[in-house]
Amino acid sequence: MSEIRISQAQIQSDSDMAGGESGAQTAEHEVSAVRKFLMARGNSAIADRVFHGLMVLCALSIFLIVALILWLLIARSQLSWHTFGLKFFYRSFANPETGQSMYWDPVNDRFSAVPFVYGTLVTSFLALLFAVPLAVGVAVFLTEMCPRWLRGPLAFLTELLAAIPSVIYGLWAIFVLVPLLREHVNPVLIGALGWTGLFDNQNPTGLGFFASGVILAIMILPIVSSLTREVMTAVPHSQREAVLALGATRWEMIRMGVLRNARIGIVGAIILGLGRALGETMAVTMVIGNTAEVHRSLLANGSSMAAVIANEFTEAVSDMHLSALIEIGLALFIVTVIVNAFAQLMVWAVTRGTPSQVR
């Protein structure tokens, strides 16, 4: 309020000086409707404070949601955590009837996350193996070589891959990809690389780790390639010119002038893709085969952390079974959060520009 009074006094004295002796009189007459209206307003402190509070609440709700999820996961997994401890993540059991080792025994309420952690790691690794070279290739083509008229449509198409619901990928995998792998790819792999033990012909379905890895690769391709494109675009043009002026060919320019400068960000993009692959549920569940087993062969059936949760949640009748599933969920939650945070930091490091150092 006091500020408004001062400005009113200021106006008065200003018009005094300008208008001479009649100034004081005219000023009284000429207080316009707009000025009266504005002076009548309060300082709106309450409205401002309410608005401020609402916005803080909106921002906090995100933390609140994350905290609630974490709390639920921790609380509901206590039973399994107290029963199995850390061994949950590395131990197997002997089957009471056959004596063979097993990991997941809902009948006797004994659980171990080993096959699911293994499945998640194997499928994610395969996905990166296939997706990364392809994604970097797409990004290099789009930023450095693509004719301008083709750049937009091609970038749009790659981004569009990310918009397809994962259940559609799963369907496509079941009806197209898996038969294709079963008939044409797997026999070749078994013939050529069977000696490594990574490819055997025990599984006639075509489902399994390998099919999951391939479908995951297609699913993470858009995110990895679009982020790689972003960090490559962030490399200043002067760096490309510097390399070209030294007599570099186009490939040498891309290698030394672009990829070298963008590599931290590209690693970030890859890790972000890894984060997506680790948590991807639907498509993997549809093609991985869903058996709680650990196999060396990539063509064998298996399961992943996300897949087992999706598959068994509705059938988990015992408290222990449910608790074990939630503990797997907790582990997946923590790992993906860490992986994603790490990746974001690396992408920021390039696109925002950090103090440079020899790497």
């Binding site: 760096q239 010119e241 510097a242 390399v243 007599g247 030394m256 150092q357």
Partner: protein, 252 residues
């Protein structure tokens, strides 16, 4: 040793923009030639035509003949080949931030597959001495990044990088315009030292700089070369009215 450059009927375009029109001149070997003129007059485009950097822009086009030594660079060779013989220093220092000082200097050699380590050590030392940077960086050649240096040091690093491939011609596109006066003076001293071994073409906005370092000066205006003569003549007794107006500060 440097070689001369002969330019015949050079025309260049950016899209529909005719940025260089019928340029003819002979740049003498082992001399410093300065190109002056107001912004947008085509002098930068001109030097970029001398190592075919102009055509890295997809909308750019060039016609005419440029001879560097005996080589007709638009007919006898590919762009990558001529760029290995013509060094270039840009307006803004552009060292490679992810490389050490050492790797920055020998980037051009490593790029082309030159791996003799002992020779590389010598070349790095020689190039950094030639660019007057050696004493300031010799203790952390492999420890510090090229981007950790000051602006003036970075520009001398870029000069060392250009010199390391032992070019015949050194093109400098406003090499000191982003630097403070002390660094500028160092770069100018350097240019003076280097001309015994290289043919140097320098684009500059700074007429005093042209007068200080160059024996020959060319004045560009609106895509044409108005006058090309000895620096002394250009600055004391120009033959063209437009040159006189420009150097006396009546426009530009």
């Amino acid at each position: 040793m440097g070689v001369g450059i002969a330019v015949l009927n050079l025309n260049a375009w950016y899209g529909a923009n005719h940025t260089l029109q019928d340029i003819n001149l002979n740049i003498p070997a082992n001399h410093v030639t300065a190109l002056i003129g107001p912004s947008g007059c085509g002098k930068s485009t001109f030097v970029r035509c001398l190592n075919r950097m102009h055509e890295t822009n997809p909308i750019a086009r060039v016609t005419g003949t440029v001879r560097i030594g005996d080589l007709d660079i638009y007919r006898d060779c590919k762009p990558v080949q001529i760029r290995r013989r013509v060094g270039m220093v840009f307006q803004r220092p552009n060292p490679f931030p992810t490389m050490s000082i050492y790797d920055n200097v020998c980037a051009g050699l490593k790029l082309n597959g030159y791996t003799n380590r002992r020779a590389l050590d010598e070349i790095v030392e020689r190039s950094l001495k030639a660019s007057a940077l050696w004493d300031e960086v010799k203790d952390d050649l492999k420890k510090k990044s090229g981007a950790s240096l000051s602006g003036g040091q970075q520009q001398r690093l870029c000069i060392a990088r250009a010199l390391a491939v032992d070019p015949e011609v050194l093109l400098m596109d406003e090499p000191a315009s982003a630097l403070d006066p002390v660094s500028t003076a160092k770069i100018e001293d350097l240019i003076f030292e280097l001309k015994s071994q290289y043919t140097i073409v320098i684009v500059t906005h700074n007429m005093q700089q042209a007068a200080r370092v160059a024996e020959k000066t060319g004045f560009f205006l609106n895509g044409r070369m108005v006058e090309f003569d000895s620096t002394h003549k250009i600055f004391t007794n120009p033959s063209d009215k437009r040159t006189e107006d420009y150097i006396t500060g009546r426009f530009g």
